[in-house]
C-alpha cells in the first residue's frame, strides 16, 4: 500500500474507533434504551432515617423510567432495589440519584445496604427492618 493510502486508511480506522467508542454508547443509550423508556417517568423524593424510608411505598407502570432522589437525615444509608439490583449510597444532607427503567413487573423490596447502626435489643427496630417497596404494574 502506498504511503498516502496507508495514512488515509489509518485516519479512517482512527475516526471509526473513536466514533464507536464515544458516540456509540451515547447513540445506543439514546435510541435502544430510550425506545423502551416511555413517557416522562416517575420521580420520587425519599428521606432515609434510622430505621425508615419516607415514603415507603412506590407504584409505577412497567416500562416507565423511575428516578429516586434520596437523602438522609441522620447517618449514611444505602438505597437499593432488590430484583433490579441497583442502588446508591445516601449521605446525610445530600441527594443521591437512582434512575432506571422498570421493565420487570412485581413488587420489589427496597433495602438499606449500609449497616446504619445497632438498635436497642428487643426494640423490634434496626437496619434489617429498614425497607420500602416498589410495585411495578403491567403497562
Amino acid at each position: 500500500m502506498r504511503p498516502h493510502a496507508r495514512e488515509a486508511a489509518a485516519l479512517a480506522l482512527l475516526a471509526v474507533t473513536l466514533a464507536v467508542m464515544v458516540v456509540g454508547p451515547l447513540y445506543y443509550n439514546s435510541t435502544l434504551v430510550a425506545a423502551k423508556d416511555r413517557g416522562q417517568g416517575q420521580v420520587f423524593y425519599v428521606t432515609a432515617k434510622q430505621w425508615t424510608f419516607t415514603p415507603d411505598k412506590f407504584v409505577v407502570k412497567q416500562g416507565e423510567r423511575v428516578t429516586f432522589y434520596v437523602t438522609s437525615s441522620d447517618v449514611v444509608h444505602g438505597f437499593s432495589v432488590k430484583g433490579y439490583d441497583v442502588g446508591v449510597m445516601v449521605y446525610p444532607g445530600d441527594y443521591s440519584e437512582l434512575s432506571f427503567i422498570a421493565n420487570m413487573t412485581g413488587t420489589f423490596e427496597i433495602i438499606c445496604f449500609v449497616n446504619c447502626g445497632t438498635p436497642s435489643v428487643g426494640s423490634g427496630e434496626g437496619h434489617s427492618m429498614m425497607n420500602a417497596t416498589l410495585t411495578v404494574t403491567p403497562s
Partner: protein, 492 residues
C-alpha cells in the same frame, strides 16, 4: 543465560517491521481510553459501579503489576495510549514515516535528564489514590490530564518521547520493575554496531524513526528506558536487533562502569518510593484503621447540585485540608524521608563493616537499592492480587453496565450489588509465598551486588550482612501486615 529471540518467529518480525505497527497496537487502547473517559464523566458517580474506576485502578493496575511488567517488562509502553495523539501530531503521520511534523522539537534540559520528575509525579498521583479509586470524575480528570493534555503538550514542545522517558509517572514504575522482567530488547552483536557508522537506530532512516526513547541500542544492557517501540528493528539495516525471552534480573546487576550515567539517586529514590508505598497502601486499603482511610479520603461530602435528569456526576465535593496534609505528609514522608533514611543508615553500616570508607556512601546506596526490587515487586503483586480478589466481582457487573445507565450488555449486570470477594481467606498464604520468593531473589541479588562492588569476598560478605538484615526486616514488615490481617480478622 539461555535466551529465545522472538524475532526469529517470522510473523512477529514481519509485524513489528511494519510502519503501521505502533499505530495498530495503540488505536485499540486509545479507543478504550475514550470509552473510560466517557464513563468517568457521564456514568454513575459510584466508584465501585463505574467501569472507568474499576478498569483503571483494579484491572489495568493489577494486570500491569502481576503480569505485564514482571513477564513482559515495558510491553505496556508499546500499546500505551498516552503518547498516541502527541506522537502523531509531532510526526505529522499516523502510520508512515515523515521527516517533519508539527512539533517544535526542543531538547529536554540536561538538568532534567533523570527520573526525578517521574518520582514526584508518581507521588502526586498516589497522594490522590483514595479519591481517584472512589470517584469516577476524579479518574476522568486524571485520564484527560495524563493521557491527553500533558503528553500531547510535551510531544508538541519537545523532541521524541521526552514525556515517556522523563515525565510519565507510570513509566518510572514500569521501568524499575521491568529490569527484573522476562523480556528484553538487545543487539545480537556489539561488534556489528561498532562497525556500523550510520547509527540509523538512533538517527532514523527511511524505514523508521530514530529511537524515540533516546537510547543507543548498542549500549542497551537494561530494560529501564527501552520502550520496546520496535523502531530500531525497522531501522537496523544489519538485522542486529533481538527481542529476547529470558529469566529476568540481569539488568539490576549492570556494571557500574557501563551504567554510571544512568544510575543515580533518582533511580534509588524511585525504588524507595515503590518499597515504601506498597505497605502504606496495604494499610490504607486493607487495614482496619479508620483514621487512615479518612485521611486518604481528603475529598468528601458528595453533594448533588440538585435533582437533574443527568444521572449523578454533578457532584460538589468538599475539600478537607487537614486530611490532605496528613495523608500527603504520610505518603511523601514515608517515601522520601523514612524509607531512604533507614536505607542510608544500613548502607552506612555496610560501608563501615566492609572497610570501604573511601567509597562514597551514595555509591553504596545506589548500588544496593536495586536489591529492593524483587521483594517490593512481590509486595505490590500481593496487594494487587488481593484487591482484585476482593473487588473483582464489581468488574463482572460493570462490564455489562459500564455507565450505570441500566444496560445489561452481557447479562451480568444483575450482580450489581452482590459483591462477592473471591478466596480472600487464602490471601495471607499466597502473600507469604510471594514475599518469601521475593526475599530470596533480593538476598541473592544483594550478594551479587556486594561481590561486584567490593574488592574481595570477605569485604563483600561484611557489606552484605546489614543489607540482608534490612531486606529480611522489610520482608517481615510486609509479612507482618498480612499475617496481622490474618490473625486479627481484617480480611476473614
Amino acid at each position: 543465560m539461555q535466551r529465545i529471540d522472538l524475532l526469529r518467529i517470522p510473523f512477529i518480525k514481519w509485524l513489528v517491521k511494519r510502519s503501521w505497527f505502533q499505530f495498530a497496537v495503540t488505536v485499540p487502547t486509545l479507543g478504550i481510553f475514550c470509552l473510560l473517559t466517557l464513563c468517568a464523566f457521564d456514568g454513575t458517580p459510584v466508584g465501585s459501579h463505574n467501569l472507568s474506576t474499576l478498569f483503571v485502578w483494579l484491572l489495568w493496575w493489577a494486570a500491569l503489576i502481576v503480569v505485564l511488567v514482571p513477564v513482559f517488562g515495558r510491553i505496556w509502553c508499546v500499546v500505551c495510549p498516552m503518547p498516541a495523539m502527541g506522537q502523531w501530531l509531532q510526526r505529522g503521520a499516523l502510520a508512515t514515516k515523515r521527516e517533519r511534523g508539527l512539533g517544535l522539537g526542543r531538547r529536554w534540559p540536561r538538568k532534567l535528564q533523570n527520573i526525578w520528575l517521574q518520582n514526584f509525579g508518581f507521588l502526586a498521583v498516589t497522594s490522590c489514590i483514595f479519591v481517584l479509586v472512589t470517584r469516577p470524575f476524579a479518574t476522568g480528570i486524571m485520564l484527560l490530564l495524563f493521557v491527553l493534555i500533558l503528553p500531547t503538550a510535551f510531544f508538541l514542545l519537545f523532541e521524541r518521547r521526552v514525556w515517556c522517558r522523563y515525565v510519565c509517572p507510570v513509566s518510572g514504575f514500569i521501568g524499575m520493575y521491568s529490569m527484573a522482567s522476562g523480556l528484553e530488547l538487545r543487539v545480537k552483536s556489539e561488534d556489528v554496531c561498532l562497525n556500523h557508522m550510520e547509527k540509523s537506530c538512533y538517527k532514523g532512516s527511511e524505514a523508521g524513526y530514530g529511537c524515540p526513547w533516546f537510547e543507543f541500542p548498542q549500549n542497551l544492557d537494561r530494560n529501564a528506558y527501552c520502550g520496546l517501540c520496535m523502531e530500531c528493528v525497522k531501522t537496523c539495516p544489519k538485522d542486529n536487533i533481538a527481542l529476547n525471552l529470558r529469566l529476568g534480573g540481569d539488568d539490576l546487576l549492570v556494571e557500574p562502569w557501563h551504567g554510571a550515567r544512568k544510575r543515580g539517586l533518582d533511580e534509588a529514590f524511585r525504588i524507595f518510593i515503590e518499597s515504601a508505598l506498597a505497605p502504606l497502601y496495604a494499610l490504607v486499603f486493607v487495614g482496619p484503621y479508620g483514621w487512615l482511610k479518612d485521611a486518604a479520603n481528603w475529598l468528601g461530602g458528595a453533594t448533588l447540585e440538585g435533582p437533574s435528569s443527568i444521572q449523578g456526576n454533578v457532584l460538589v465535593q468538599t475539600f478537607y485540608p487537614y486530611r490532605f496534609v496528613v495523608f500527603t505528609g504520610l505518603v511523601w514522608g514515608c517515601a522520601l524521608l523514612a524509607m531512604p533514611a533507614v536505607f542510608f543508615a544500613f548502607a552506612y553500616l555496610s560501608r563501615s563493616l566492609s572497610g570501604s570508607k573511601g567509597v562514597p556512601l551514595k555509591t553504596f546506596v545506589v548500588n544496593f537499592s536495586y536489591s529492593l526490587v524483587p521483594v517490593s515487586l512481590m509486595a505490590w503483586i500481593g496487594l494487587a492480587l488481593y484487591l482484585l480478589m476482593v473487588n473483582g466481582s464489581y468488574i463482572v457487573s460493570a462490564i455489562s453496565n459500564p455507565f450505570g445507565w441500566g444496560w445489561n450488555l452481557f447479562g451480568t449486570a444483575s450482580t450489581g450489588l452482590s459483591w462477592s470477594p473471591f478466596l480472600t481467606q487464602l490471601s495471607p498464604y499466597f502473600q507469604i509465598v510471594l514475599l518469601l520468593v521475593g526475599l530470596l531473589f533480593s538476598l541473592k541479588l544483594a550478594f551479587k551486588i556486594a561481590l561486584r562492588n567490593l574488592p574481595d569476598r570477605q569485604a563483600a560478605m561484611k557489606a552484605y550482612l546489614p543489607m540482608a538484615i534490612l531486606l529480611t526486616g522489610m520482608c517481615f514488615l510486609y509479612l507482618g501486615l498480612w499475617s496481622d490481617a490474618f490473625f486479627w480478622g481484617w480480611i476473614l
